[in-house]
């Protein structure tokens, strides 16, 4: 099969750490099969390519685009829209594209706070004039442009239509291979589906489970858990109960609680809400003050614990902004973003 007739594959990296790119390579020698099956037309991380070449392609001419990362900047939004138009199948690849993930936690702040922290207040920054990035800068030679930085990180699906979601931070190599095989074979679930399991990590976890009653939540540095019993029963906040299966319970298998990187189970709108109602249900006390203490001492960072991977795609989405910016000036600022 020559490059002309092979289906075209594109991979892109937006607001994410880059781990997803490595994960694609973690399928090992099977990458050669990918290369054999697809004509890789765009993959900035590993090969040279120009946006102009993509812009020049006809809409729908790319068979599959694996897009990782959330949408933080105008450039990322542009690329998301461009690849959406060019790709027949757009896959939100990994937790950031699907749910916002770690970059999405910045939705607890706003652009101004993030800029001040990073460019002015950070101890390692030397910026006496408090210069902040702007989308347009005028210099002697003319105007320079930087991508605009948005107030809110959005997921890929909040920006463009997405056909499939491949969860994980990063997706497991075998699951990537399963998905690619399914695409190659044309054996795909209905559009909009998550390609993955429909149950949770507990299903894959070898530990023994009992009725749960927790008197104290502990942090990982406080205990060496026993290797047999459910970690949650030992007081560790293991998110495996609410997290989609697919990783083979990697973390619990090595005595470390699940942090929820595979996202919510199928059909769940809000991962954190599920975790919170579940944990609230098993706290072994009816005394409000004691319950308060158990939560305050055991779970010092609720958002980071329950929304680590999904804040941008939760019911909460982001922290509340001042009313003026939200309601009255809403329409005006949207254009600037």
């Amino acid at each position: 099969m020559n490059a002309e007739t092979k289906p075209k594959l594109a991979l892109y990296w937006a607001a994410s750490c880059g781990g997803c790119e490595i994960a694609v390579l973690a399928i090992d020698e099977r990458i050669l099969e990918v290369a054999g099956a697809f004509d890789v037309v765009f993959w900035p991380c590993v090969m040279d390519g120009k946006v102009a070449d993509i812009e020049a392609m006809e809409d729908g001419s790319i068979a599959v685009c694996l897009f990782n990362g959330g949408i933080r900047t105008s450039e990322q939004e542009y690329m998301a829209r461009l690849l959406r138009a060019k790709a027949k199948v757009l896959v939100a690849f990994g937790a950031c594209a699907q749910d916002g993930s770690i970059p999405g936690l910045a939705n607890l702040l706003d652009r101004d706070t993030i800029f001040r922290q990073n460019y002015v207040e950070s101890p390692s920054v030397d910026n006496p004039e408090s210069t902040l990035p702007t989308a347009t800068t005028t210099v002697a030679e003319g105007e320079l442009h930087l991508p605009a930085f948005y107030d809110t990180l959005r997921t890929l699906a909040q920006t463009v239509d997405v056909d499939y979601f491949l969860p994980g931070c990063p997706p497991e190599a075998d699951r990537i291979w399963d998905a690619l095989s399914a695409i190659l074979a044309g054996d795909l679930p209905p559009a909009g589906s998550v390609i993955g399991a429909r149950t949770t990590v507990c299903e894959e976890c070898p530990r023994t489970r009992h009725e749960k009653k927790v008197k104290e939540f502990k942090r990982t540095w406080q205990v060496i858990p026993d290797a047999e019993t459910c970690l949650l029963e030992q007081g560790l906040v293991c998110c495996g109960i609410a997290t989609r299966a697919g990783c083979g319970a990697r973390c619990p298998s090595v005595n470390s609680p699940c942090i929820g990187c595979y996202g919510a189970n199928d059909g769940v709108q809000d991962f954190g809400a599920r975790m919170m109602t579940a944990l609230a249900s098993i706290i072994d006390s009816n005394d409000p003050r004691e319950v308060q203490r158990i939560i305050a001492t055991g779970i010092p960072d609720p958002v980071g614990t329950f929304y680590r991977f999904s804040l941008a795609n939760s019911f909460l989405r982001r922290s509340r902004r001042p009313v003026a910016a939200g309601a009255a000036a809403g329409a005006a600022t949207r254009g600037e973003d």
Partner: protein, 675 residues
């Protein structure tokens, strides 16, 4: 998904239409909300004309969903469900909106009320479109009944059910059944001897083939639901072998330890460390008080064991847990008497000759600690004047705001007994005399004729500090006589405090265990204050007597009998309909994390060890939704309360609010967030 929804807005006379513009609500919903095929308002939807309107529309307009905006579903959900059924529509495809209790009765703002009603009806339309047809289930009714409390109310229930040959278990925490009534001397207004009318009932219950008495026992836990409850009862150790004890009383006679009897004798009399609370006790069997028995305190004595002719003393007895299966439960746990020490201005516990009403009852009783003599605390002197203070702990913002209902008549009875037995002067200090029942006011007239003085006013203080020679050595009752408009100080020898009836101290624990609720004051809450004062909101749990609110003997007996009739009806029918609003676990997707296992208040969830999945037993599930909310994998489905239905209802409620924001907040779809 295209539906044909019928919307009906009830005026409820002026109850709803007085505040809500019902016509405008019906019009707005009919015009603006998708899939509404018919939208009408009508004066009384619950009338037969209102119901047939729905039925005709279902048939003619081919409605497949119905929304009725009217009163609380507690009142008329069944009515409208039946109307739908009659027209061939599954009753669970009807949704009620409570625009009366939730809107028209709580505001006078007609504009806002109409707006809110429109929003709520819109929400209900969006919800009902997504509701699913459900089929009711039936479970058999276990013919056995549990009665908690062996006072007169509980005994009435027990005997009436047992008369029909059905087993009844009576759990009583004291050593004997009988309750408060066993402590009284005379009963108002007829003045017949309390024991004479009660003890035949007690022995009837004790000897009845179908009644199983569990005295000196406490209810530990309740699980299951109507028709099939499982209860655990703790039979406290009596240290007496009930199989061989003959109740001869030798042990009690030989026991060297005397204890002040705070329970039956209200602290006025003494009993032994091994004791029967009173001679007619049922069962006729003593119990050892381990806090005072020398054997338990110091490991010595065993006199009772030595003298017992049948060797029935069993020091090694342990508490025993009895598990019972019953179809229905009656709570008849009665009341606690107000602790008069909480009102120190009346001097109880500080001034010797201030007595509580229960102390005075025991004093009047011929079998009581004074042999029926009315005497001061010195046990010798007869008082020449007695004050009876009403409403101690009742009708008082500092303690209980309610009227205790029985104390006026008891106070009149005390006045009569004092006049009759010792001829002393009696002063009755009242706020209002409440003698509302049959023959009660006649009794009041009689007591007035007997020369009892009535002083209208709340007593400020009872003091032993004299202000004049006439007050020396007396108790002085200081009070504003509101009829004369003067302050009065009346010196007396004895004061009787008519303490309030209060809910049992542990009533809330029992309510929690039985799955019912308590009023603000702590009385058990009936299903409906007028139309169903016997049942509770939990099917199969009924109330009898003062645990539901202060009550005299006739009312307690009537309620006990009513509870029995309700239960007999259920036993006769043999099965009960169970709401199909239950939770189900998608076992394919359950990962067996076991979060839900210990949560179910009805113990309906079981874990299948072999398959590693949890399972809901539908017959036990009450559809409360606790497990649905808790399941971290969201694989438990709560029928009739599906996420899709609830979200649709919320979006419908907020449909009107959408015009206020610059962009629809499509919170649950993957839409854009307003930046």
């Amino acid at each position: 998904m295209s539906r044909r929804v019928g919307v009906y807005v009830c005026h409820c006379g002026s109850n709803i239409a007085g505040t809500i513009d019902c016509e405008a609500v019906a019009r707005a919903v009919g015009e603006r909300v998708a899939d509404v095929a018919v939208s009408r308002d009508y004066k009384f939807m619950c009338s037969s004309l209102g119901q047939s309107m729905i039925q005709e529309d279902i048939e003619k307009e081919k409605l497949d969903r119905v929304v009725v905006a009217a009163c609380s579903p507690h009142l008329h959900e069944k009515t409208f469900r039946r109307a739908c059924s009659n027209a061939g529509l599954n009753p669970y495809l009807m949704q009620m909106v409570n625009v009366r209790e939730h809107i028209s009765w709580v505001t006078k703002d007609q504009v806002e009320a109409t707006r809110k009603a429109t929003a709520m009806v819109t929400g209900a339309v969006e919800r009902v479109k997504r509701q699913e047809a459900l089929e009711p289930q039936y479970v058999p009714v276990n013919p056995a009944t549990l009665v908690v409390g062996g006072g007169i109310a509980g005994l009435q229930t027990a005997i009436e059910i047992a008369e029909f040959g059905h087993p009844v278990y009576v759990v009583e925490r004291e050593p004997s059944i009988g309750g408060h009534m066993a402590q009284f001397d005379k009963t108002f207004p007829t003045l017949d001897c309390s024991a004479c009318i009660l003890t035949p009932r007690m022995s009837e219950a004790g000897q009845h083939d179908c009644i199983h008495l569990l005295t000196w026992s406490e209810l530990e836990s309740v699980s299951g639901s109507v028709g099939n409850f499982k209860v655990r009862v703790r039979k406290k150790a009596r240290y007496v072998n009930s199989e061989i004890c003959t109740g001869c009383g030798v042990c009690e006679e030989k026991c060297p330890i005397k204890v002040v009897d705070d329970v039956f004798e209200a602290g006025l009399g003494i009993r032994k460390a091994i004791y029967m609370p009173f001679p007619q006790a049922v069962p006729k069997m003593p119990v050892i008080d381990t806090a005072h028995c020398i054997w338990f305190v110091r490991g010595k004595c065993r006199a009772c064991e030595i003298f017992c002719p049948t060797k029935a003393i069993a020091f090694d007895q342990k508490d025993e847990i009895v598990e019972l299966e019953v179809g229905n439960i009656v709570l008849a746990t009665g009341y606690d008497l107000f602790d008069c020490r909480r009102l120190p201005q009346y001097g109880y516990g500080r001034l010797d000759n201030v007595f509580t009403s229960l102390e005075f009852e025991r004093m009047c009783n011929a079998a009581g600690p004074t042999g029926g003599r009315i005497v001061l605390r010195d046990r010798e002197t007869e008082p020449r004047s007695v004050a009876v203070i009403h409403c101690v702990g009742s009708r008082d913002k500092r303690t209980n705001e309610y009227c205790s209902a029985t104390c006026c008549m008891a106070a009149l009875k005390f006045g009569h007994l004092v006049r009759e037995r010792i001829g002393a002067e009696v002063y009755s200090f009242y706020i209002d005399i409440r003698t509302f029942s049959k023959d009660y006011d006649e009794f009041y007239q009689r007591v007035m004729d007997e020369g009892v003085h009535f002083v209208r006013g709340r007593v400020a203080e009872v003091t032993d500090v004299p202000r004049s020679p006439a007050e020396e050595g007396k108790l002085v009752v200081q009070c504003e006589d509101t009829l004369l408009g003067v302050q009065r100080r009346i010196p007396v020898d004895m004061v009787i405090l008519m303490g309030a009836l209060e809910p049992r101290a542990d009533a809330r624990d029992l309510a929690l265990e039985a799955g019912i609720s308590c009023s603000m004051n702590g009385w058990f809450t009936e299903r409906h204050p007028k139309l169903d004062p016997v049942a509770t909101m939990t099917d199969g749990v009924f109330l009898a007597g003062a645990c539901q609110g202060p009550k005299d003997i006739p009312s307690s007996v009537a309620q006990g009998a009513a509870a029995a009739a309700r239960i007999l009806g259920m036993i006769t029918r043999g099965r009960v309909e169970i709401e199909p609003v239950v939770a189900t676990i998608d076992e394919e997707r359950c990962s067996g994390c076991r979060i839900c296992n210990a949560l179910c208040p009805f113990h309906a969830i079981e874990f299948d060890e072999a398959r590693h999945v949890s399972h809901v037993q539908a017959s036990l599930c009450k559809g409360c939704g606790t497990c649905v909310a808790a399941c971290p994998a969201q694989v438990i489905r709560g029928a009739h309360f599906m996420n899709e239905q609830i979200f649709a209802e919320i979006e419908g409620l907020l449909a009107d609010a959408w015009s206020d924001v610059s962009e629809p907040v499509a919170a649950f779809a993957a839409g854009g967030v307003d930046d």
